[in-house]
Amino acid sequence: MKKSADKLIIAGREFTSRLMVGTGKYASMEQMVQAIEASGAEIITVAVRRVNISDRSQESLLDYIDLKKYTLLPNTAGCYSADEAVRTCRLAREAGLSDFVKLEVLGDEKTLFPDNEELLKAAKTLVQEGFTVLPYTSDDPIVCRKLEDIGCAAVMPLGAPIGSGLGIRNPYNIRIILDTISVPVIVDAGVGTASDAAIAMELGCDGVLMNTGIAGAKDPIAMAEAMNLAVRAGRLAFLSGRIPKKLYATASSPIEGIVT
């Protein structure tokens, strides 16, 4: 294929970058903007929260984000039931005038692992209401298949716990999910450094979503660029057909013509 023609398509929309980034945990809005810029991301996640009535001073995230340039992906972080998540998505759509939602229904506060039972309920409702649902889920091929059957626009299995930086703990399950699922598979959560992102793409994933891996680095802007490069590197390597792994060596210089 023509590498330059390689696009990520979600719900009929085409994206050039396969890296999606969050907007949380930055030292300042300025740092966030520069990091997003450096990451090359086109889709950025945001959270839905109550306006602080008492303190009007706080600046609005949207003052810093060019909505012509970026697609907002509101999340339902902090929701522990299908009902809360659905309610948050409805608010998000009204606030953002877009149907895209990153659906999270969490199981507990310590692991932030998804509660897939509730997730499936919420996904059913939201798809029926016309949302474009990108669900954060486990590396569980059965749940991913059900999410696809429900009509989710992508599945986003975790690589490791949110913010853990452990990378892809179980590449075997990710591979099985890739074999099973037709919609885009995006690794969401767990990426700690560039090689983690490259590995996700080399497995054949369609994209990677991260926040803490960038925002939590000592130099978030440089790390954002590193992730940008790594996702492209991993994607290209996947498309290029790597050499097989062998226990023994193969010479790279010719045997003939050695001076004796």
Partner: protein, 65 residues
């Protein structure tokens, strides 16, 4: 009139949702409003009257992952 905004009781001047948003200096384009657990379409902020005891949620986007 007294209503509940984001879970806290407030006493307000305005009678419409739009009026109240202006009262507290919030740009209607940047938020979503829920009135008594139902989403309120932006188009209805102006015409929707608030009554005593109403519960409204006003949310916006913040940084998140």
């Amino acid at each position: 009139m007294r209503i509940f905004v984001n879970g806290e009781e407030q006493s307000i001047e305005s009678t419409s949702v739009l009026g109240y948003l202006k009262e507290i200096e919030i740009d209607p384009q940047r938020v979503a409003v829920e009135l008594n657990l139902d989403i309120l379409p932006k188009g209805e902020y102006d015409t929707t009257q608030l009554k005593d005891g109403d519960r409204i949620e006003i949310v916006h986007f913040v940084g998140g992952g």
